[in-house]
Symmetry: C2
Subunit: 348 residues, 2 copies
Amino acid sequence: MEPIAWVGDRVRILDQTLLPHQERHLELRDHRQVAEAIRALRVRGAPLIGIAAAYGLALAALHAPTKDMDAFLAFLEDAAEELRATRPTAVNLSWAVKRLLGKARACTTPHEAQLVVVAEAQALHHQQTEDDLGLARQGALLLPEGAAVLTHCNTGALATGGYGTALGIVKAAWEMGRISHVYLTETRPLLQGARLTAWELTRHGIPCTLVVDGAVGLLLARGLAQAVVVGADRIARSGDVANKIGTYVLAVLAKEHGVPFIVAAPTSTIDLSCPQGAAIPIEERSPEEVRTVMGLPVAPPGVEALNPAFDITPAHLVTAIVTERGVAYPPYGESLPALMSLPEVSHG
Amino acid sequence: MEPIAWVGDRVRILDQTLLPHQERHLELRDHRQVAEAIRALRVRGAPLIGIAAAYGLALAALHAPTKDMDAFLAFLEDAAEELRATRPTAVNLSWAVKRLLGKARACTTPHEAQLVVVAEAQALHHQQTEDDLGLARQGALLLPEGAAVLTHCNTGALATGGYGTALGIVKAAWEMGRISHVYLTETRPLLQGARLTAWELTRHGIPCTLVVDGAVGLLLARGLAQAVVVGADRIARSGDVANKIGTYVLAVLAKEHGVPFIVAAPTSTIDLSCPQGAAIPIEERSPEEVRTVMGLPVAPPGVEALNPAFDITPAHLVTAIVTERGVAYPPYGESLPALMSLPEVSHG
């Protein structure tokens, strides 16, 4: 079930487009194959695509010309550009790429840089797993005792390569005996809730109920869930949150029903250079994803469709933002920069 | 494209479960086949299932024993019970059945009652078509000039057997040159928006854009739609509205963005005997409809799912209720009974 692994000179991924019906692994040999896997959502989830991009750059380092540092770095930067262009919204991707490029540039020989880039990609992956656990434990304590929790999309191990963000909180809270039930939305168009979150929760034996995205209003109106927990693809300095399409709907309804709306994300998802939500680019994906369901046509062929992959939840609807370094509360314009100025969590 | 027709001693329906990919008609010979068609959503839409139930009862009248009036009425009442039990939320169904039973009981011989019941079912169908047109023209005038309109589920000709309710308004407004564009939700689990509304709008050449249900927040936040228009399956005396799951989500978001939220329904959908939304029974359908899409499994098999077919929109979120007899505004506790006490619209 490990969604990504570095295996010598390749990256092995679990092809998430085939879940839950098929568990097929793919071995990616170069950064082009990694870029394709990110574009096609074989690996998805903001933290995981950060790790995938890092491994993609590690593969590029292994294939780069090693005659001199300039040629090496030029190759690496081209690869970085291709990886960065795959998906615009999740900032973890460009964060990881930038971090690895910085490490490479600090090296004096291509061979040294190869070792450093591969090691740093692995370190990022390892750090994600550790960070997820810290985030999950802190977030679990924010949930009302005995609550049923509503979540959206997939933010579990499949989304981070570690323990998960929002779903990590859910899992930790379940293990602590703090929550009683999980409601999950199917999350059209690509059904990450129905396909991936249902699969993860079932494997963990956590009692859960799947609903269509339109049922979230009735669910909260009936008082069935006492907290909403979601992930994020990018968080602006203001605390505005870009996350999977449908998240903003949940946030408005949570406010309408007085239910806490909690966002869980590693600090690599926070983009202090982005002042507010309106500045976050929203990826528009193919209308074909809306006209079809897992390849099956549902709408009349050719009917126009709009397919924004994310929406923006304004900061005033967000009760708390949980990261591996701690929990931020409003006003986020102050709490997020304070959190980011803390030293990185060290894991010995 | 006629969704229902009386053809001598049978009812011909368009099997809506096969749209938009296949236009197949079925000929139903008795009320049991009509009940099956309603349960399986081959005919659906609150007004249309009222007409279907009326035709079902007409078929029952043709097959009832005609030796004496008691046996005839007993057979008819059994059939009425079976038809009423098919779907609990839409009140048009029991309204139509009650109306036909009343006509039958007023007759003196079974043969007279057969003629009267068949004629009354046809009259109901004819009246629906006329009423739809009146409703549509009144509703169209409520839309902001030049607006793009957001609608949910299917409320067109396929839902009423006439011109449509909410989609009737949209069509009339388009013909009047009052609106510029239509956004429609796919409406999971059964995709009546993607399958049926997209099909109707495309046939009418009305420019439209399909979105997933979760995209309604972003759509309103971007200011893409200036009015929301939906149908209803039952309206309580208070003005609370039962309609397709997801409607309440739209209503909360419309309020959040200051966009009018208009409900369109014939007066046969208004249930003055029902004091408020909490008293409206909500049909729970099979979880399999959530775990699958048009028969294709999407979630892990056996994962628990909740499948309420409708939700309740509280009256305070409803800008206006458009009927064939006129438009009701808040407070609905006064305006709806006043509307219902008006004489039925006569069509000469």
